[in-house]
Symmetry: C2
Subunit: 196 residues, 2 copies
């Protein structure tokens, strides 16, 4: 319940949260300004007070989702453990797998991808993630944990792709198990103890 | 141009093709029966003559897309070469990467995933692909090309996930290169010549 003394930043926040939910549930094309206002319990005037319109609101919603994902990933990647262990922790961290990746899923929304502005936070977040992972792989190579022939940048892309594709497999089968199987395969290939 | 002597199977076919295009461009929620009829140049009566409605037509469209993907993948996986070479050929086969996987993308459509009937052809196709790849990995293990400790089923899931996630990376960055980098990383991990 919102108090009567609700500030304008509360309204702005509720508009962003409602847009995030709707983008998630219905995609950009299925998210009407009317539905956003209804869900946020806000009037048209207050929306145009804070945002230029649906694209502007969608951008704020996507940015917030991207920031959250980055913070969650950093929490694991900057955590304790060897490079292999931190990559494993990232791959195995608890996820709502059947919902899909809040950021990755946006790449399958035709309207998001058609707009350079809406695509930018998605691209930047996945880029950041790959660079962070590439650094950890390089660290592991220096410590002799990964083979010197491996290329950090490529392995990082494979790690991110396995996670993103794992969501696809899980959603297709209706079960999170399919995600876990793909992760297990990647970890067996990355494992310093595998007997190649 | 369609001739006046157009048969009913031509109409059915055009309805299916129009639905495929629209599902691809606009998603299920954005695909109205009206838009399908307009694109197919067909009347409402002819649609209901062939199909029970939009869900039925969407199912026929998804089934056709799934069959095509299966035939394309089989063409490479059943081709010549060692197990590693066939997996490499599958990973490197020419793709319209920026469009995304016609089958995998459907898993990000909330309406497709909410329907067991529409989800089934997607699930079956990805399942078939994983089983086919798992068989090839097992073949490679028997031939000493892959480490005996690798599990065919998990590696197959990692391969499919890398491809599906590769589309996500490519679409996020607006460039097919991101797909190729992830594939390169996976191949370096799978390579019989890597020096682990």
């Amino acid at each position: 319940m919102y108090s009567e003394g609700m500030s304008t930043s509360d309204t702005s926040d509720r508009l962003i949260e409602s847009t995030r939910e709707l983008l998630w549930e219905r995609g950009y094309v299925g998210t009407s300004p009317k539905a956003i206002l209804e869900r946020a319990g806000a009037g048209q005037g207050s929306m145009y007070h804070h945002f230029k319109g649906k694209p502007d609101l969608a951008l704020a919603a996507i940015r917030r989702t991207a920031e959250e994902m980055r913070a969650t990933a950093a929490g694991v990647l900057d955590g304790p453990g060897t490079p292999y262990e931190r990559i494993e922790a990232y791959l195995r961290r608890e996820r709502d797998v059947l919902r899909g990746c809040p950021v990755g899923r946006l790449t399958m929304d035709p309207d998001v991808i058609a707009s350079d502005e809406l695509r930018a936070p998605v691209d930047e977040t996945l880029d950041w993630l790959r660079e962070r992972l590439a650094g950890i792989v390089e660290e592991g190579k220096e410590q002799g944990q990964f083979a010197p022939g491996l290329d950090g940048e490529s392995i990082a892309a494979t790690i991110v792709a396995t996670v993103q594709g794992g969501y696809v497999l899980a959603r297709a089968s209706g079960s999170p198990a399919a995600f876990d199987v793909g992760v297990r395969g990647l970890l067996s290939l990355l494992s310093p103890h595998q007997d190649h």
